[in-house]
Assembly symmetry: C2
């Protein structure tokens, strides 16, 4: 994610912090300073919000380490002002496994709350009724309350929040994964509207969560429906058969001419018999910035182009492109180059298929 820095690497997972999170820490310090007027109070404010987000990180590790048991890799965990985000490669597709991954986060908060409760009792802190009403009280007590709140809030069945994922998994035991996601996403959007209205009147923070929830529900549903359309499709159906190849010996200005003359943006590099690299438009622009126009393409440091068979399922292609950080693959049929597939063409195929499916219904 842009504007985020690596803070630590724990259990093989990078923990990143987004710049806006620092604003939140500053803001808390400021509120405490405004209320109590001392630098000590300001530090207390900052320590409190940082400890709280420490619990959020543990919550995300609950998800990530459970997912790892089912073979799902988490690339990093990022701290944003509205919470933590674990960038998992995917969710486990078996409903029961997804459910366990979703439950693991809130469960961590409940365990933290339980440990704090034991600590509070061992140190003989009195808990009065007034204490239970507000979130006044000792550091440990407030942290316990807020962890219980975090667990309960995340269990609200608003997809893609944890509770919503549990709901989706439950629905997926009785219908297709795509249909379950569509239903859970609609409920998630309903909650987003509700949070939005509450946010306007009570807490602007809730408004922010409403926006993320709405966007998240929409995007995850879209992705799931796309995945569903691609279910039985192969590379052969998505491939471009009309495309230009640039030779490693071509000069940059040659590639510019090709780009302006036609609609193709990214070019496979090599010959009809052996494509080896990809020259994307971004790389070409960067190269024009760094080198002379008469530089030859083989002098650039370009990503390798991988080749797949025409019968490869498109789902696998997408995973392949993502892990190679390359939006193009070459397609072979009977050992000969048959075409190329890029992300744009897959998106076109999805659009056309969905339009025709909607018509058939």
């Amino acid at each position: 994610m842009k504007w985020s820095w690596k803070l630590a690497r724990i259990a093989g997972i990078d923990v990143n912090i987004h710049a806006t999170f620092l604003l939140l820490v500053l803001w808390f310090a400021w509120i405490y300073w405004a209320n109590f007027g001392t630098v000590f109070a300001a530090i207390q404010g900052a320590v409190y919000i940082i400890t709280l987000f420490g619990c959020v990180v543990l919550h995300e590790f609950g998800h990530a380490l459970t997912a790892r048991r089912f073979g799902v890799v988490t690339k990093h965990i990022t701290l944003l002002p509205i919470g933590g985000v674990a960038a998992m490669e995917k969710m486990p597709e078996k409903p029961f496994e997804e459910m366990l991954v979703a439950v693991a986060g809130p469960a961590v908060n409940l365990v933290i709350a339980l440990l704090l409760w034991v600590w509070i009792h061992l140190t003989n802190t009195q808990i009065s009724a007034e204490l239970l009403m507000g979130i006044d009280g000792s550091f440990a007590f407030r942290l316990m309350v807020v962890n219980i709140f975090l667990a309960l809030f995340n269990l609200i069945p608003a997809f893609p929040m944890d509770g919503g994922r549990i709901l989706r998994a439950a629905l997926a035991t009785r219908m297709s994964h795509a249909a379950a996601t569509a239903k859970a996403a609609t409920i998630g959007q309903g909650f987003a509207i509700l949070f939005g209205i509450l946010g306007v009147f009570y807490n602007p923070f809730l408004l922010l969560i409403a926006i993320f929830l709405w966007l998240g529900a929409t995007a995850e549903n879209q992705m799931e429906q796309n995945r569903d359309v691609l279910e039985h499709m192969t590379a052969e159906q998505a491939m471009l058969t009309e495309f230009r190849i640039v030779s490693p010996d071509d000069v940059l200005s040659h590639a510019v001419e090709h780009t302006i003359a036609g609609s193709q943006k990214d070019f496979p590099v090599g010959s009809r018999h052996l494509l080896t690299h990809v020259l994307t438009q971004n790389q070409l622009v960067q190269a024009l910035h760094d080198h002379d126009r008469s530089t030859r393409i083989h002098e650039l440091d370009l990503p390798t182009l991988i080749t797949v068979d025409a019968s490869t399922p498109i789902k696998n292609l997408l995973d392949n492109m993502q892990s190679h950080h390359c939006n193009m693959v070459a397609v072979e049929k009977n050992g000969e180059l048959a075409g190329i597939v890029n992300l744009e063409n897959i998106m076109e195929l999805i659009r056309f298929s969905q339009a025709m499916q909607a018509r058939r219904r």
Copy 2:
């Protein structure tokens, strides 16, 4: 703009209201209700914010009607919670004219304040020192103060706010328009950072303005730099010479095949001798949704394709595309079809030219 409705049409200009503005009215009513506890107070809150935004509309009409004197058409004025936006076709390019257009908005607020001051004096309202400090006081008095504030705030030299436009115009008398815009935009971004910091600590509203200011300064500068690159370029330099034409007699599935097989997205419709319409990907997707795959292209209701000469400046092409709501034009040379130009190709030309310019510097 999405989510906005037409409220009125004044002097040939549509006044639109954005859905989020209604939230602001509700919010004000709520604040007044929370403070005074009566429905009457809530109505007062709503009336106050609506009257205030009436002044904002007059401010925008100040810009729009002055711009009209210099031949610039304003398509509509939209009310957003952070203020009004007048959608002018362009700003006058002569610095002095741009300056007058920019000054006209704040000037309207000062005139309103002056009229209110006269009214307050005619009705013999006492103005005490306490009144001058807070914005307590009569409706007319508060409205006068806020209009003076609006005039002064808008005159802050933070491009693209009014004061920033005046600054740009002043700079443009000594350097190129593009260089003046770059300088004004940098200053505008500086103000955006300042507003952002003040916003975090004092007023979240200022944070919102900071975001709009940053995005606005960046976008307007980018547009101006693009315009500068295109200065002496013609349609011939941006045109695609390798492209497919679809025939009016082709069926939809034919266009789908062409799209999947190659990189072209939008197709001119007709023959090499006479191109008449454009079939965009969006229209094709919509057609697949509404009609059978065997429908012929001439049965669809497609936009007309206009033809320009190869020597036409690209700047004019862009205006042409915008007024025809069509992202493609056909290019003729010596009376014969030479190519097509679409927005994407113009953007590619801009990227390449800017990269090569940056290298030459």
